[in-house]
């Protein structure tokens, strides 16, 4: 598969379909990291393996697109996994990225492995255990929803009973939270947020968080103070979860990058479940369907 990815990348750079290909490459100490390839002779840097976990759609935001000051935003070729493709759909639907300036090299994904976690859980290096990430264990759709070329055999996807079981396990975690009293649930989340440093890695890694000035950092008006303390952290995480409601596609990058292991995957999973139950809606399946929280339908009866 990697040869096909490299060949396609070389082709679109040579014929100037794109100015830049964003994919994955080997890093230091066995890690894999995002790759930015600007010329055809560099495409051999690109790799494809089970450590390619980063959601590259996060690099398409206006403020993170690699661009020299004053130059126009580059046309980008993107090595695209299924989940990243769903994130891209959200960005397309929200008019954050022009589709015509992207060339999508879709790849059929076999799942990403859990990070090694020497100290924390965010090192981009596959764990020797070989276990898939929780989100990958539960994943049932491993072909990107849209692509310009597809690498890999869609028929070869391994979706099986284990995925159903993993979804069941995630559902169980959510049900355990449901079973707590409000006070107990608050204590659980406070325990998580206690460790939070407000480093904003979760926000920066998230494709859905692209505000040029985050509500959590705005000073005028000041919605939340600068304190790295429980009241502010509750506000930030709850607010971010709400801002992602109906938009989060469940890549769990937020949880992976957190240096102290806050269970953001669980928080966003809860919100996705609520959106599914209330609106029958799952984010990112296509780039055009109206999203529930930004669409007003006079005939809607939510039976809340």
């Amino acid at each position: 598969m990697i040869e096909q990815i490299r060949a396609k990348a070389r082709e679109i750079l040579e014929n100037k379909t794109v100015d830049l290909v964003i994919g994955y490459q080997l890093g230091t100490r066995g890690a894999v990291r995002p790759a930015f390839v600007y010329t055809p002779d560099e495409v051999d840097r690109l790799v494809w393996n089970e450590a390619c976990t980063h959601n590259l759609a996060a690099y398409l935001h206006a403020k993170r697109v690699p661009a020299k000051r004053g130059a126009p935003a580059p046309r980008i070729g993107l090595v695209l996994k299924a989940c990243d493709g769903r994130a891209l759909n959200v960005l397309l639907r929200e008019n954050q990225v022009p589709r015509e300036e992207l060339y999508l090299i879709g790849v059929v994904c076999q799942g990403m492995q859990q990070p090694a976690g020497l100290q924390g859980r965010s090192l981009s290096q596959a764990s020797p255990s070989g276990q898939l990430q929780l989100r990958c264990q539960a994943c049932t759709e491993r072909v990107p929803p849209a692509y310009d070329v597809l690498v890999g055999d869609p028929a070869g996807q391994k979706i099986d009973a284990a995925a159903q079981a993993r979804q069941g396990a995630l559902e169980q975690e959510l049900q355990r939270l449901d079973g707590l009293s409000a006070a107990e649930r608050r204590a659980f989340w406070d325990g998580e947020f206690e460790r939070c440093l407000r480093c904003y890695a979760c926000r920066q890694a998230c494709p859905g968080c692209y505000c040029t000035e985050c509500t959590a950092e705005q000073l005028d008006p000041e919605w939340v103070g600068i304190g790295i303390a429980i009241p502010e952290k509750r506000f930030f995480h709850t607010m971010r979860a709400y801002h992602l409601a109906g938009r989060c596609i469940g890549c769990d990058e937020c949880a992976r990058v957190c240096p102290v292991g806050v269970r953001l995957d669980l928080l966003n999973a809860w919100m996705r479940r609520e959106v599914q139950r209330t609106f029958g809606y799952q984010a990112g399946m296509d780039a055009t369907s109206p999203a529930p929280l930004t669409t007003f339908r006079p005939d809607e009866d939510l039976k809340l």
Partner: protein
């Protein structure tokens, strides 16, 4: 003269210290995470830890700290009441309740405090950091081996270095070799009854340094090199590297009203961790931002550590702890940067 204490003696000693001091020690807070926390009993201590995910810097420079409290009290208006009410203003410096003891601080983190001293204790000294440093004793614990991302030996010291410690412990099979190094160390070991350490205290050979820190002139020459742009492409401008770093100290300051009635207002001036990596870090009122690009911010971080900080304050602002390598979600690896700078020198 080196002393010896058993593990049981260590536990008792720490329990006793916890009665009079805030005892800070490594604690397993999730199955994967050890951090330094104030603990209430030696049972909470993760004695077998290697390197905590975060340094104990937050006990010297807290993530959130009040640096001033202000009370405004409205005075009763004299006379006909048409005069604008006057407000009395009282300022207070927040206090520090107890002395602190940090158990299990590693040589890298102790070196980091010494590096921070060069800036924060420089005249005019940061009163709050100075007070915490003054009132905290450090019980160091030598490392048994270097971690996969550790590179302290490349910064000129070893994983069993004693610099900055008040008491130094080296684990032996059955207990600890203990050396009291300073007056503060004497004060906290006063109640301890150690035996003499029999034989030669343990010493280790460490592997040679793997990396070379380029001298300042090399960094200066490479400021406009395209390497920084290539490096910054994948940077997410999160603040993880700065927040886990034991020598990063940048902070933000803002006032908050914590109590208010028509005749009374209590305000806290808070300072909180901040990082030069953030987008709006240098944006001024009016909107101008002298570091709008990721490239400029990421480059500033490395230059601050290896060029500006030593130029202005003396020591390097890196101690080779490797936490930034562990935690960067996109594998921006400081040792790779050092190699790259050397290669281009």
């Amino acid at each position: 003269m080196t002393d010896f204490i058993t593990h049981a003696q260590l536990r008792d000693w720490l329990a006793a210290l916890g009665g009079t001091h805030t005892l800070i020690a490594p604690r397993q807070v999730t199955p994967e995470l050890v951090v330094y926390q104030a603990v209430h009993s030696p049972d909470d201590i993760a004695f077998g830890f290697s390197r905590a995910a975060l340094s104990p810097k937050e006990f010297f420079l807290p993530a959130t700290e009040a640096i001033l409290t202000v009370e405004r009290v409205r005075q009763l208006a004299a006379g006909d009441g048409s005069a604008q009410p006057d407000w009395e203003v009282r300022l207070a410096e927040p206090g520090m309740e107890r002395d602190q003891v940090v158990f299990g601080i590693r040589p890298c983190d102790a070196h980091a405090l010494t590096a921070l001293d060069a800036l924060l204790l420089k005249d005019p000294a940061d009163a709050y950091y100075a007070r915490r440093r003054e009132r905290t004793a450090l019980i160091g614990l030598a490392c048994q081996q270097m971690g996969a991302t550790c590179f302290c030996t490349s910064l000129g010291f070893t994983p069993d270095d004693r610099q900055g410690m008040d008491v130094m412990l080296v684990a032996t099979g059955d207990g600890y070799a203990l050396d009291t190094l300073t007056d503060k160390g004497q004060a906290i070991t006063a109640g301890l009854n150690p035996a003499d350490y029999k034989g030669e205290p343990p010493a280790r050979e460490w592997p040679p340094a793997e990396f070379k820190v380029p001298p300042r002139q090399v960094w200066t020459r490479l400021f406009k090199d395209p390497y920084w742009g290539e490096l910054a492409d994948r940077c997410l401008s999160c603040k993880i590297c700065a927040y886990v770093c034991p020598t990063c100290r940048c902070f933000d300051v803002r006032d908050y009203t914590v109590a208010q009635t028509p005749a009374y207002q209590k305000i806290e001036r808070l300072r909180c961790w901040d990082a030069c990596m953030a987008d709006g870090y240098r944006r001024i009122a009016g909107g101008h931002n002298p570091r709008p690009d990721k490239l400029e911010r990421l480059r500033n971080r490395f230059y601050c550590k290896f060029d500006y900080y030593p130029a202005d304050f003396g020591p390097l602002a890196c101690v080779g702890c490797g936490r930034c390598i562990d935690h960067c979600p996109v594998n921006v690896d400081v040792t790779e940067v050092l190699d790259a700078v050397n290669a281009r020198s």
